[in-house]
């Protein structure tokens, strides 16, 4: 069973091999990432087979750990733990990861830094796989941070442009707010238990001092809210759509953003010990589900619609866990991973074909993109919650958990969110696929883009039927949908779709919703401004910060530099023999550099700059090799 350790290692190795190569070489061997994820997929299947038929909650099929350090007399270990929940997550990550890598071959083939893209994608996959395999919170946190880095790199992949650069910073900083909470939570946990291991932490959770469990749970929740884009830390996810679309599919729809949900599900004993933390989780979730849903309904950018939809669906997962239906939450995580990545991949084809992301400039795509239409349709119906597609089943379980938990208010709110979801799905569908075509030369995607979408569509259509089996696999009683809940949720979904059709599907009103907007007035305005979240941060955090920074800078300029300059002028007087007192050499370097830029010309400069980077890469490579050696020897 030691091969389980290879699952995250394979993509990590691919990253390690790709990174030090030159750009041309890296581009040429970009298939390496694909091969490594393929290997991880095969091993994940083997791991899944080993865990099968599951059913034992909290019991590991395989575990192993290596000590990495001893700090203050306590061992810190890197350990892996293979249990049913990890086995399922492994499969989800590797299947979606594989689909995205294959799809990216087609989507990114003309990008000149495609090799680096695949390298980062592989590193991300490795980190996410390590996260779900971790047997302690410290390793989970480490993988969590690596994912944050990859997310940053991929959002800012086209860093020559302003928007991706800004978006990557926003994503990094916003999730950092959550991560600080997470880190404090970990420190508090360590101070209480003296260990990061799941078993050790959960064993004594009942005996923790009153309030400690709540504090730890809420701090972990803050981390999860940052990563999973929950209100009010959700603002980074829509902006993150500036990155390449397949990367959004993998990271910002299927896997990384679900890591927060996974964290809460893993740490569930702490949340249960607290009780109130569960309620807060539910409230955060339902708020997010509604806010994300209604904002998605007014977005015009197709990727932003999907981004807000992701926020909303992640909120759904939190609701489920908060209501005591962790299994339902995890099942929604799984189904959502498949259908939302499918929708993103479809959106990628649409954007390629229509050369725009604005849905108002699209229309009539169904005639030209048959494969995309069918597969996207499956994803859209799943998202709307229409049987037999996967989203129906998982949403039904969540509503059922709310119903049996007697959280009726939340149940109504969740149903409202489901209604809005169906509405914006219909809005998206009718705007993009029906009506008159607004662009010419619409072309279907390459085969390597279509095949993964078909695979995901098949999974989306079929996976719902595993709902009872899923529960049993995780050690809970499974059940088929309750007629009352299922009927109700289907009715809500159909009503939402119908409203969407009424507003956008009828030929007569297409492209003319102005009257509606005018009547809605203030409410529409608030929604279009994303409920003022971004503006609030802009005015109350970013602007004051920039203002302070600016004034501190001016202070620095005037007072500190003034003092230095004053001293310098004093010297000028003193050293009358010399015409002026200058630090000859520093000046020289600066002037010389300018001269170098002028004289050497563009090409030469590029080569020179490249060289330093190559050297730096060699140095870092040597350091990494030494580190690997230390780890191998230590293990």
């Amino acid at each position: 069973m030691a091969y389980v350790a290879l699952i995250p290692l394979l993509p990590a190795i691919a990253f390690a091999v790709l990174t030090p190569l030159s750009r041309e070489m890296r581009n040429r061997v970009r298939w390496l990432g694909l091969v490594s994820v393929g290997g991880a997929l095969a091993l994940s299947l083997a791991a899944f087979a080993a865990v099968w038929p599951g059913g034992q909650e909290g019991e590991a099929t395989y575990r192993a750990s290596v000590p990495i350090a001893q700090v203050g007399g306590v061992d810190l270990n890197l350990g892996i733990l293979l249990d049913p929940i990890a086995a399922i997550m492994l499969l989800v990550i590797t299947v979606v990861g594989m689909c995205v890598q294959v799809y990216s071959l087609g989507y990114m083939h003309r990008d000149e830094r495609v090799g680096w893209y695949f390298a980062v994608l592989s590193l991300f996959t490795a980190a996410m796989l390590a996260l779900v395999l971790a047997d302690n919170f410290l390793m989970l946190y480490m993988a969590w941070e690596v994912m944050g880095l990859c997310s940053y790199l991929l959002i800012g992949f086209w860093h020559e442009q302003e928007a991706p650069r800004k978006a990557s910073q926003k994503a990094f900083l916003t999730t950092r707010v959550g991560d600080v909470g997470f880190a404090i939570g970990l420190a508090l946990m360590y101070a209480t238990v003296g260990s990061f291991e799941y078993d050790a932490v959960f064993a004594g959770v009942g005996q923790w001092a009153p309030g400690v469990a709540t504090a730890v749970a809420l701090l972990l929740l803050i981390g999860a809210m940052g990563k999973s884009a929950q209100v009010p830390l959700h603002v980074w996810l829509p902006d993150a759509m500036a990155g390449p679309t397949p990367a959004s599919a993998l990271i910002h729809a299927a896997t990384m953003v679900a890591a927060g949900v996974y964290l809460v599900a893993r740490a569930l004993p702490i949340f249960e010990a607290s009780g109130v933390a569960l309620t807060i989780t539910m409230i955060v979730g339902v708020t997010t589900a509604l806010v994300g849903g209604v904002i998605a309904a007014v977005q015009h950018d197709i990727k932003k619609v999907l981004a807000y939809s992701t926020i909303s669906q992640l909120g759904y997962m939190f609701v489920a866990i908060g209501a005591g239906g962790a299994i339902a939450g995890m099942f929604h995580l799984v189904t959502h991973a498949f259908f939302k990545s499918l929708l993103f991949l479809g959106a990628g084809v649409i954007i390629h074909a229509a050369h725009t992301q604005d849905m108002r400039e699209m229309g009539g795509l169904s005639k030209h993109l048959p494969w995309t239409t069918v597969t996207f349709g499956a994803g859209a119906l799943a998202l709307a919650g229409v049987a037999p597609f996967s989203g129906f089943w998982s949403k039904d379980e969540i509503l059922y958990a709310l119903y049996t938990g007697e959280h009726y208010v939340v149940l109504v709110l969740a149903a409202a969110a489901a209604f809005v979801t169906a509405f914006y799905v219909a809005r998206l569908w009718f705007r993009v696929f029906t009506g008159p075509a607004q662009t010419e030369h619409l072309k279907e995607g390459h085969a390597e883009m279509i095949v993964p979408m078909v695979l995901l569509a098949v999974i989306t259509a079929a996976i719902g039927f595993t709902a009872p089996g899923f529960s049993k696999f995780l050690g809970h009683a499974g059940h088929w949908p309750d007629p009352l809940i299922a009927g109700g949720s289907t009715a809500v979904a159909l009503a939402g779709l119908a409203l969407g059709w009424w507003a956008y599907g009828r030929r007569s009103v297409v492209l003319n919703t102005r009257s509606l907007k005018e009547r809605a007035g203030y409410a529409y305005d608030a929604l279009a401004k994303k409920l003022y979240f971004d503006l609030t941060y802009e005015y109350f955090i970013i602007r004051p910060y920039m203002w302070t920074a600016e004034h501190l800078y001016r202070f620095d300029q005037k007072v500190v530099d003034g003092a230095v300059n004053g001293a310098a002028s004093a010297w000028n007087g003193l050293t009358a023999a010399s015409a002026r007192f200058d630090l000859a050499v520093i000046d020289g370097v600066v002037n010389g550099l300018a001269g170098s830029a002028r004289a050497a010309g563009r090409t030469l400069r590029k080569i020179q700059v490249g060289r330093v980077q190559t050297y730096q890469r060699y140095i870092l490579g040597a350091v990494v090799l030494l580190m690997v050696w230390i780890v191998v020897k230590g293990a």
Binding site: P67, I68, A69, Q70, V71, D75, L76, T575, A577, S578, L583, A584, V585, I586, D587, G588, V589, N591, G592, L593, G595, S596, A599, A600, Q608, R611, V612, Y615, Q616, Y618, I619, L620, A622, V623, L626, M627, W629, I630, V631, K633, G634
Partner: protein
């Protein structure tokens, strides 16, 4: 013997001398006087450092002027004096002398502090203090584009490794809760401890241009004026080796695996340095790779954590630095391309024969300094059981004879370079070179008493 804080008199003198040189405008005779003052002050500092004796931990245990530090401080100050003396005679190419002398003395001051460092923070600051001026020295000709590029490369790569070093130091502090070498409690810290030490060492590896962290050296040397290379390639190395000896001595008992890391880096440096030096036609580049190779020899003695090894390494850095600096100073006079040295023997027989002495010392032929240095290096590695490393060292030494003798051949049998103007006589510069030649012999002859003093230093 200097007692109490007087023991730091050499450092204070050197820094004071640097300021005097910086404002050399105000002195009669201006630029040249500044260099003379620098040379005199540095020489005085060397005498004081040698005569000043040793002491236990001082300044709250942050520094310890022990035997190793005493030897290294003397070496640094003396070589700085030698260099300043040469600069007084020949000057810097196209630029003023005084800033160069001041920068060199600041670097020397930092280096001398570094040799005494017993604390991570002191070590880091002293290391930066000794390297910052070196960046400027390497780009000293401000209108020379390739030189500035080399200096910039040096700067960027040194910064990267400094950052890695700080990262490693943060681990060491995190584990032990102290930055003092004496209080580094790494025992049983497992992988993290080794990792922290390794990352900390990387900064020093790069500054010592050990393979595979040496990339800056050939490019930076080839772009810089030879006279700057003479200083930057030698003096900081003495300080670097001394502080590495200290750091390794402090941690080697607690963390395993350092022997292997040091031995691997040593082997890589010896192989890469000596092989890459073979095809070079530019003396600066050649000496850059020769420096890489010598760092390999030095690390061989540092690897096994024995006081004899540390002593041998510090001794050999000085034994390497003197001829190496002198060769670069001759290159500064004659030109850096190998063909520029053609028929040097008939033009300047004394200089040519001095070159022979230095080159032969670098190869390691008795009775010169290099021979005894290498003897002790190999001996200490051998007694620690690193047989394969010693075999590799001996073999690569033989290889090195190939490229050093190419220089000799060029000087005696090469073609006279066309159109060279006769060099103006500069007695001071010649004096500096003569001192270097005599020192190379003297360090060899006086090796055993010097080493006897050093060998017990870290016992």
């Amino acid at each position: 013997m200097l007692s109490g804080y007087w023991i730091f008199a050499p450092e204070v003198l050197i820094v004071a001398g640097a300021f005097i040189a910086l404002f050399g405008d105000l002195l009669p005779g201006r630029d040249r006087t500044a260099a003379y003052v620098g040379a005199a002050v540095a020489a005085l500092a060397a005498v004081l450092a040698a005569a000043g004796g040793t002491a236990g931990p001082m300044v709250f245990g942050q520094v310890e002027p022990d035997e190793i530090a005493r030897f290294a401080r003397t070496g640094i100050a003396a070589l700085t004096a030698l260099w300043a003396l040469w600069v007084a005679g020949r000057g810097m190419p196209d630029e003023r002398r005084r800033d160069a002398v001041a920068l060199a003395m600041f670097a020397a001051g930092g280096g001398m502090l570094l040799t005494m460092a017993e604390d991570l923070i002191v070590m880091y600051i002293a290391l930066e203090l000794s390297t910052m001026p070196a960046y400027v020295l390497m780009g000293y000709r401000r209108r020379d584009v390739p030189g500035l590029e080399g200096a910039l490369k040096y700067f960027l790569l040194a910064m990267l490794t400094s950052i890695i070093m700080l990262y490693g130091m943060s681990f060491l502090y995190g584990i032990s809760g102290s930055t003092s070498f004496a209080e580094l409690a790494l025992e049983g810290s497992g992988m993290l401890g080794v990792l922290g030490v390794m990352l900390t060492l990387v900064g020093l590896f790069a500054k010592m241009s050990a393979a595979p962290f040496h990339y800056w050296a050939p490019d930076a040397y080839a772009g810089a004026p030879a006279v700057s290379v003479a200083f930057v390639s030698t003096v900081p190395k003495i300080a670097g080796i001394a502080v590495m000896a200290r750091l390794l001595h402090a941690v080697a008992g607690d963390v395993g695996g350092l022997v292997t890391i040091m031995a691997v880096v040593a082997a890589a440096s010896m192989l890469l340095g000596n092989l890459a030096a073979l095809p070079q036609s530019d003396l600066r580049r050649l000496m850059a790779y020769s420096g890489v190779a010598h760092t390999g020899y030095l690390f061989m003695a540092l690897a096994p954590d024995t006081s004899a090894g540390y002593g041998a390494a510090v001794f050999y850095t000085v034994a390497y630095a003197v001829p190496s600096m002198a060769i670069m100073l001759v290159a500064a006079e004659e030109g850096s391309d190998l063909t520029d040295l053609g028929k040097l023997a008939s033009r300047r027989p004394l200089a040519a024969w001095s070159m022979v002495v230095w080159l032969v010392s670098l190869i390691g032929i008795p009775p010169l300094a290099g021979f005894f240095g290498k003897l002790y290096l190999f001996g200490s590695a051998l007694s620690a059981g690193l047989v394969w490393l010693v075999v590799l060292g001996v073999l690569t030494s033989v290889v090195s004879a190939g490229y050093y003798f190419r220089v000799v051949r060029e000087m005696f049998f090469g073609d006279e370079p066309a159109g060279i103007a006769a060099l103006e006589p500069a007695p001071t510069a010649s004096l500096a070179l003569a001192i270097a030649a005599i020192a190379t012999v003297a360090i060899g002859v006086g090796a055993s008493p010097l080493l006897a003093a050093l060998g017990v230093a870290l016992g």
